[in-house]
């Protein structure tokens, strides 16, 4: 097990290096530069001074070398070019914290409600609770986030005026974005759980358990849930990673100062340092979560082994 984790860590670093290098060279190869937003032909001198200040006058491989050195020696991703004075790492920590505050609540409600609804739908297969839950789930999957967010926003902030439209700081400002974000998760988990539970309850061992006289609740708790939760755990991993990186549309609509903004806008602004910082951050989260999920499989289902058996 220890060797396995060590090996995975090694792979993780190789993956991260490849992602970093690919992003770095790709982003420098797209046309335009951080001054593009000026939308005007600047005098060569102005451009030269600017390039020199941000080290953009060096060749791209050399810039990459400097960049790597700063990361390895002091874990320094530099400063945003578009927003001078904003350290990339600080911005990521700040933004990811905000995104996570909303995202985890949404994920918590989404997973809990989704799993419960999925189990109910499976147990009441082809009866009205199943139809109702699947109707909600399909709505949740098909309604685009911005439509649902607009509806929620209009209803609760303009018509009823229960909550503020945008802003950040109090619990009131979190309610609507959490509802918006949770809807998708509820729908997703309900559907996964339903099909997974359906598969499990038709297994022979459930029949055996029933024949042995195990109570319905214990069958559900000890046999059904445990065996049908694996698909849910699989999708949970990347979703946890995504929680930190923020939901661009929802954050934009409710004015949440999360990280989603930087993922989209740094590319449009050609904010090189921010692009690479946010990408590496997501990559780290993603590979780390993958590792955790793989280890969790073994915990949930002892039949899954991570290392080849000798």
């Amino acid at each position: 097990m220890f060797r396995y984790i060590l090996k995975r860590f090694l792979y993780m670093f190789i993956t991260l290096f490849c992602i970093t290098a690919a992003t770095f060279f790709l982003m420098h190869s797209i046309p335009g530069d951080p001054l593009s937003y000026m939308a005007k032909k600047l005098p060569d001198q102005t451009r030269e001074n600017y390039y020199e200040k941000y080290g953009l006058n060096e060749s791209v491989p050399k810039q990459f070398g400097i960049f790597l050195k700063n990361i390895v020696t002091e874990f320094n991703f530099g400063e945003s070019i578009r927003y001078p004075g904003r350290k990339v790492t600080e911005t990521i920590v700040e933004g990811a914290g905000v995104s996570a505050a909303v995202g985890f609540q949404a994920l918590f409600w989404g997973v809990s409600i989704g799993i419960i609804l999925g189990v109910i739908a499976a147990y009441f297969r082809n009866r009205w609770p199943d139809y109702l839950i699947m109707f909600i789930a399909i709505l949740g999957v098909t309604i685009p986030v911005f439509v649902f967010a607009s509806l929620v926003q209009y209803l609760f902030t303009v018509k009823l005026r229960w909550f503020p439209t945008t802003g950040w700081g109090s619990w009131k400002e979190m309610v609507l974005p959490v509802i918006t974000l949770a809807l998708g998760s509820i729908a997703g988990y309900a559907r996964y759980m339903k099909s997974s539970v359906l598969e499990t309850i038709n297994q022979d061992y459930i029949l055996t358990a029933r024949a042995k006289g195990v109570s319905e609740f214990n069958i559900l708790r000890r046999h059904v849930l445990r065996n049908s939760i694996i698909p849910a755990v699989t999708i949970l991993g990347p979703e946890i990673a995504a929680v930190f990186t923020g939901a661009f549309v929802t954050e934009k609509m409710f004015g949440i100062p999360g990280l989603g903004f930087y993922y989209v806008n740094s590319i449009n602004d050609r904010d090189y340092t921010m692009i690479i910082g946010t990408t590496v951050f997501y990559a780290i989260l993603f590979v780390a979560v993958q590792l955790v999920v793989d280890i969790l499989y073994g915990v949930i289902d002892p039949r899954i082994t991570l290392t080849k058996q000798e």
């Binding site: 046309p31 937003y37 005007k40 600047l42 001074n49 001078p84 607009s150 934009k252």
Partner: protein, 555 residues
């Protein structure tokens, strides 16, 4: 004012101007006296880049700096609506007869931390912008200053720049040559003061966080939660704080249009600006909202690459210019919300105290009136002159646009249809992401393109100085010695009437005779403000900001 992504109808332009605005004359107030608690809630679509005047180039930061800092002069709207330049940071000023030496007496004023504002602060703020180490994107605006170019390229030390503090209260600025538009720069952010001690203490961090800077304007920044909310409060140290009525300004950062309008509807912001007819109609129904059409100094235009074999010909260019019906474009594409443009110089720009557009000739109208041939005939004539196949049907041209959204697509299709009908040519559309689009533009790698050009400072010349042949600031591969000479003359002119006549001549050559670019529409937005907000100035270049704003009758 410069904007990020000026393209696509200058979507953001008007939104960003939400902070500027006029007296709500005619609206009866619900109370007789100003409200006891004076505050205003407004919004911006994104964070300002920095409060450091050397690095702030986005409209949001520029509009905020007007409130935080005291320029030497301000342009203020008078009771009758006209604009007047008034002394602000400078208490008085004189200039030599040749217009080369300007002397300012700095007013008794304090920074928000209690320090005295000195002539040295202004001199340092200006010098810092031209210091190559600062790498200020707007440094080129200060080129009229003596030795500016040499200092900016590092050939001369910064001490050689023609800006000096003669003593504690006297600032002297020397110019390279007489510059008629210099007044327009005096209330621009490039001439704002900076605190040397703080810049040295914070380095590049100066102005990037609210506590890493000091303010000498009507307000000071109190808090800034990135991408969420910025709060300004009244600056008690400000010399004219008796005129400042607002105690607090809250800028919410709201990127989403619908969220902006919901916020206006439920009163969480006091003002909002829209570019869409749908929302304009909806808000017009609300009797508590005062509607004002605000012109922003941006011209949306089309331009032709003259290094391209086809568009090297003036008749071909004119044919493409004449084929467009600007009124129809405005109605179909912009729901009639913009202003059809027949000149590159947008409404609202003044020369002296006169609005240029209200008195000057409109070169595209001249072109339309003087051309007897149809656009198609003109195109055929041009093709013959070039020795090309004179059949327009066999011609395919590429129109480049910077943007990949639905609006840009509709606009492109409109142009495609127009040229198909009017000229019989095939138009290929190239829609690129902004960075790629602008790269092709700089490198003259396009045939026809469209984007917006914004005036950086208040003077008709701000739209034209860059046509000078060594700069080719419009990136069209064109230059004319005649225009260069006229530009030099207009820049040096001290007589307003003569200057306007010269600008008319430049525009005539640029747009009518040579058909270099094709103005389409001037940007304008519809600003809605609750009727309890008073004292707002709506003029495009007014720099009073929130200084005189107050509320009366807020519920």
């Amino acid at each position: 004012m410069k904007l990020k992504k000026m393209l696509a109808g200058v979507l953001s332009a008007a939104l960003l101007l939400a902070g500027c605005g006029t007296d709500n004359g005619g609206n009866p107030s619900t109370a007789d006296a100003p409200d006891a608690e004076q505050y205003i809630n407004t919004y911006v679509v994104t964070d300002p880049t920095s409060f450091d005047s050397a690095m702030a180039t986005d409209t949001i930061a520029v509009n905020m700096l007007i409130n935080l800092m005291e320029p030497l002069l301000r342009l203020e709207q008078q009771a009758d609506g006209s604009l007047k330049t008034v002394e602000a940071g400078a208490e008085s000023y004189t200039h030599s007869d040749d217009g080369l030496t300007w002397t300012f007496t700095i007013r008794e004023n304090k920074w928000s931390d209690g320090q005295q504002v000195t002539a040295e602060d202004y001199a340092y703020g200006i010098t810092r912008l031209l210091d190559p180490a600062t790498a200020a994107p707007y440094s080129y605006l200060l080129m009229p200053l003596k030795n500016a170019a040499a200092v900016n390229s590092g050939e001369l030390p910064v001490e050689e720049l023609g800006v000096k503090a003669l003593d504690e209260k006297t600032l002297e600025i020397q110019l390279e040559g007489p510059t008629s538009y210099f007044m327009g720069l005096l209330y621009h952010t490039v001439m704002l003061p900076a605190r040397k001690d703080l810049v040295e203490q914070y380095g590049d961090q100066y102005g990037t966080a609210i506590d890493k800077m000091a303010y000498n304007g009507p307000f000071k920044a109190e808090s800034w939660v990135h991408n969420s909310e910025i709060v300004f409060v009244k600056n008690d140290q400000y010399w004219d704080n008796a005129s400042v009525k607002l105690g607090k300004i809250t800028y919410k950062v709201i990127q989403d249009e619908n969220a902006v309008y919901s916020s206006l509807e439920n009163g969480s912001i006091d003002t909002a600006s829209t570019l869409s007819k749908e929302w304009t109609d909806a808000f017009s129904q609300n009797s508590r909202l005062v509607h004002e059409k605000v012109v922003s100094a941006n011209t949306y235009y089309q331009y032709y690459n003259q290094t391209d074999p086809l568009f090297a010909n003036a008749n071909v260019r004119k044919a493409f210019t004449l084929a467009v019906d600007r009124e129809d474009l405005n109605d179909v594409i912009y729901d009639g919300m913009r202003i059809p443009a027949y000149s590159m110089i947008p409404n609202g720009i003044t020369s002296g105290d006169t609005e240029y557009a209200s008195i000057a000739k409109q070169p595209i109208k001249t072109l339309q009136e003087s051309t007897t041939a149809s656009p198609k005939e003109l195109l055929v004539q041009g093709l013959t002159e070039l020795g090309m196949d004179p059949d327009p049907a066999k011609l395919t041209v590429t129109l480049s646009l910077g943007g990949t959204d639905q609006f840009t697509k509709t606009l492109a299709e409109y142009m495609q249809q127009t040229y198909k009908t009017e000229l019989g040519v095939q138009v290929q559309i190239e829609m690129l992401d902004w960075g790629a689009f602008i790269d092709n533009y700089y490198n003259l790698d396009y045939q026809i393109g469209q984007m917006a050009f914004g005036a950086e400072w208040n003077d008709p010349l701000s739209m034209l100085t860059c046509v000078e042949s060594s700069q080719d600031g419009y990136c069209i591969g064109w230059g004319s010695e005649e225009v260069d000479a006229l530009l030099a003359k207009a820049t040096a002119s001290s007589d307003e009437t003569q200057k306007i006549a010269l600008i008319e001549q430049i525009e005539d050559i640029f747009l009518n005779q040579d058909g270099c670019v094709c103005p389409l529409v001037f940007s304008a937005s519809d600003l809605f403000t609750y009727d309890y907000v008073k004292g707002v100035e709506y003029a495009t270049f007014s720099t009073s900001g929130y200084k005189y704003v107050y509320t009366q009758g807020r519920k």
